[in-house]
Amino acid sequence: MKTVVCIKQVLQLGDEVEFTDDGLDVDPDYLDPALNEWDSFATEEALQLRERLGGEVVLVTCGSKASEAALRRCLAMGADRAIRIEGVDRDPFSVARALAEVVSAENADLVLCGVQSSDAVQAATGTALAELLDLPRAAVVTKVDYDAGARTAVVDRELEGGLVDRVEIDTPAVLTIQTGINEPRYANLRAIKQAEQVEIDVRNAAGGGAPAYRVRKMFVPDRGEGAEMIDGSPAEIAARIASIVKERLV
């Protein structure tokens, strides 16, 4: 049983933001690096599968040397090894292409990603990766039932309004894991220290291919005006919205 977990070191915004002089990025002084919250759940899920079924948990990330902190965090939780891919643009297509190259060589039974990253919030990488690997995928997974060597897994997917979609999916598969699926373990200091000693396998991205987007400018949007807060029962709110739409359309 081999599980690959694709993780990301996110950059969290504080209360205040400044942009770099070229207007293309947020000034790094205003960003705090951290392991993407969803990815700690994905890692925990992989560790629990390993505890049950044996095998290996392999971490992969795209990013600079600094992003190894996120890998080490997951290594301290108990993952077996880690691969970091250098030189990747950060849009989801570029990331997925770089990941696909490494992940396909691993021949994993399951590939876990977080549903989304807390900084970009695009929820695209996992799906793009599945497409490139030509694997089935299930998104927003809140439960994984899988037996070692089985050809399928049964997973719960979270839908809106508290609904749950239970699906059977062929494996290998890509699952994007939702927060709350488990309780990620903490790493004690000894494990953290040991993880610091682990050698991380660094690869270079092959490159090529068009990015999903290019950043032309980052700015704080102008604040709009005239927002109306609508109170009342769902029916009243719906009626009010309908009348606003009608008014505006005329």
Partner: protein, 721 residues
């Protein structure tokens, strides 16, 4: 971060008499236990507030003459050149931060016990103090009155020499000038008593004389209480205070308006248990409405929105704070910098005041462990040195107030990694439930402030829902282990009165409980009636009694002490707490100790009954607020079962314990204990506090020789007679 423009008003300068305050933040007179006899402690304590942005900072009450000596409590004194010299240090250090220095000239009249000077104070009438025992004043005749007024003038001149910018003629809290104004103290029939004009005469004349003497150089401030809450006898806003403002507005440069007399000065220094912030605003606004001079006023102000509102609404000109400035001397700076969530807000517990009331000890603060330690331990509340052993990892077990404080300070001292591990699902320990007791909601600030700070410190990780065994701790991988597992209430009646358990006491039974069980675990006692046994003497017993009474139970509060919750006398919470319990019909049984309990009955004896007659109190349930004990099992296992040697083998170089786990005490002590260890984590032996600097007279050979010669001569001369 930048200041929120809606707080700009707080940073506008304001002219008071011949002086200008650079912003609207002012530290009102308050004691710290240092007076004029610990000049460095005094100066550093006050200067820190100036550094934190306060534009004006006052002394505590400052005695103008040996006739007004408040010993056993510590006031400042401005009696002679020595005092001038000592207090000038404070003035100089305030001036270095462009802050104005104020001196609160004080004469206590009948309230001054004069235990050190053995003088007798003078007062308007010969009525014993309502604040002190066995303390009387001389009823002042006209010569005495002139003498008293000259004392104020001479003291004001000394204050000017020392470098003070603002000089008070202090009346609030029932001191001399206000005694003359108040029928309760003033029974005179001459021109200094009776009508308003007569009762106001002493104060007005004194202000006039002081103004004449120093008014060109110093702003004249009058501190007046605008209601003593004593009905006709006490000072009243409309009858006395507003006319007094009209009478003296031309002489006074700034009014300091507050509430209360001295016997219940918790109406001024309001416990959060009873009053929200800004409680005196209606009175202050009434003065502001008729005065042409700036008005400053207290209100346990911690919220800048409310401060700005008070000024914008024309109710105050200057935000005066005492406790909030102790809890966070950097309150103004943090508002200026828009760092509102860094403000260490006062919780209104009045533990600071308890030290003054007890008399003697330096002030402490529940929220700010550095209060009073600025000089003697050299602690700055906002600055930290990198620990010499910062390359170590630390495990703190237990996220109560002590553990949180310790982890936070270790984080600020740059330790490589600090893990704060907690068995429960969030931080706080017992301070999660204490704020749920009636009236104690603001005490949650203890936890909230630290939580926010810990969250900001990247080298601290909080790990909830994790109960570590001794083995887990040993193998955790930390070089430094700090056990902060708190304390619990005894479940078997073990108490500080008998040092023994009580027959039948067993809180595992359904009809008995401890505070931990009721508040922490939600245990409910069946039945209508309950006896709460309290030998703790502070807030827990009365609060549990109040809570149960509010829930509709018939509550008997029994204590072997002479009064319930005696420590709440020191925190000024006692009067209103008594009123609350009385209103709720709680029966108070002092001087009684249960000899045994059975289901349905508590059998007790009067502690002074030599024959031990038993008295039965019917009760469906019993709550034991008897004493606390440290949760020290983990520490003992680590130290005794695993042993320090084996811990070393595992890589644990040092093991400490802090807070209630060491010994259950005040929350202020628990916080201090965590703070102290973190400040001294790189000392030779962090388990022992480093010595602090003691300001005291030191004997040296020269002074020994000269004093001995002087006294030999003195005694020799006396022996001839």
């Amino acid at each position: 971060m930048a200041r929120d423009p809606k707080h700009d008003i707080l940073f506008e300068p304001i002219k008071i008499g011949p002086k200008v305050m650079k912003n609207r933040f002012y530290q009102v007179p308050h004691c710290n236990g240092f007076g004029s006899e610990k000049p460095f402690s005094q100066a550093y304590f006050r200067a820190l507030k100036a550094e934190g942005g306060f534009a004006g900072v006052s002394t505590e009450y400052c005695s103008i003459s040996p006739e007004s000596d408040d010993t056993h409590r510590v006031s400042a004194r401005i009696w002679d050149d020595g005092d001038i010299k000592n207090l000038s240090l404070m003035c100089d250090m305030l001036h270095e931060h462009d802050a104005l220095a104020a001196c609160e000239l004080w004469y206590g009249g009948p309230h001054a016990p004069n235990m050190e000077t053995r003088c007798v104070a003078r007062g308007p009438s010969q009525i014993p103090s309502d604040f002190e025992f066995l303390t009387y004043a001389i009823e002042a005749d006209k010569d005495d009155i002139r003498h008293l007024q000259n004392l104020y003038v001479a003291a004001a001149k000394r204050a000017r020499t020392a470098g003070f910018d603002i000089v008070y003629v202090y009346g609030s809290h029932s001191y001399l000038p206000q005694q003359f104004l108040t029928p309760y103290y003033n029974h005179r029939t001459d021109e200094y008593g009776g009508s308003f004009e007569n009762r106001a005469r002493f104060w007005r004349e004194t202000i006039e004389m002081v103004k004449e003497a120093v008014g060109d150089d110093c702003a004249i401030c009058v501190r007046m209480s605008t209601d003593m809450f004593m009905g006709e006898a006490g000072t009243q806003l409309k009858r006395d205070c507003l006319p007094f403002v009209e009478l003296c507005d031309d002489l006074v440069d700034v009014w300091d308006i507050n509430l209360s007399g001295i016997a219940e000065w918790g109406e001024d220094a309001t416990p959060s248990r009873f009053y929200p912030q800004g409680r005196a605003l209606p009175w202050q606004a009434a003065v502001k409405a008729i005065s042409k001079k700036p008005v400053l006023g207290v209100g346990r102000w911690t919220n800048p929105d409310l401060m700005a509102e008070a000024i914008n609404d024309g109710k105050l000109d200057i935000i005066a704070t005492c406790r909030p400035s102790t809890s966070d001397p950097f309150l103004p700076k943090k508002i200026d910098e828009g760092r509102l969530d860094d403000i260490r807000e006062c919780i209104g517990c009045n533990v600071c005041i308890s030290r003054w009331e007890i008399g003697g000890p330096p002030l402490i603060c529940t929220q700010n462990a550095t209060a009073g330690e600025e000089y003697r331990r050299g602690w700055h509340p906002e600055r930290f040195t990198k620990a010499k052993n910062a390359d170590n990892d630390v495990l703190v077990v237990g996220a109560g107030p002590a553990g949180m404080e310790c982890a936070m300070i270790l984080g600020k001292r740059g330790m490589r990694r600090v893990h704060l591990v907690e068995a429960q699902d969030d931080m706080g320990g017992t301070m999660r439930w204490i704020p749920q007791l009636p009236g104690l909601g603001e005490w949650a600030r203890i936890v909230n402030y630290r939580k926010i700070q810990i969250d900001k410190l990247k080298n601290i990780e909080f790990i909830p829902n994790t109960k570590l065994s001794a083995k887990d701790v040993a193998e955790y991988g930390a070089e430094i282990v700090i056990v902060a597992t708190g304390s619990y209430w005894s479940t078997d009646g073990l108490n500080g009165a008998t040092h023994a358990t009580i027959e039948g006491a067993d809180a595992s039974l359904a009809w008995q409980a401890t505070p931990d069980q009721i508040m922490g675990e939600g245990k409910e006692l069946a039945g209508d009636s309950v006896v709460v046994f309290d030998n703790d003497g502070y807030y827990t017993g009365v609060s549990i009694a109040e809570k149960l009474a509010l829930e509709g139970k018939k509550v008997t509060l029994m204590t072997p002490l002479g009064t319930i919750a005696p420590y709440m006398h020191f925190t000024l919470e006692a009067p209103n707490q008594h009123r609350t319990l009385h209103r709720l019909g709680v029966e108070i049984v002092p001087y009684h100790l249960p000899s045994r309990v059975e289901e349905g009955v508590v059998v007790a004896t009067h502690v002074y009954d030599e024959e031990g007659h038993e008295k039965s109190f019917a009760a469906d349930g019993v709550v034991w607020v008897a004493q606390r004990r440290s949760n020290e099992a983990l520490f003992r296992e680590l130290k005794d079962s695993i042993g320090l040697d084996q811990l070393k083998v595992e890589g644990v170089d040092s093991l400490y314990r802090i807070g209630d786990c060491e010994a259950p005490r005040l929350t202020a002590d628990a916080v201090f204990s965590g703070h102290r260890l973190a400040r001294e984590i790189d000392s030779a032996d962090p388990s022992l506090p480093l010595p602090f600097k003691r300001e005291r007279r030191m004997v040296d050979d020269a002074s020994v020789a000269s004093e001995k010669a002087e006294y030999a001569a003195l005694y020799a001369e006396a022996s001839l007679a």
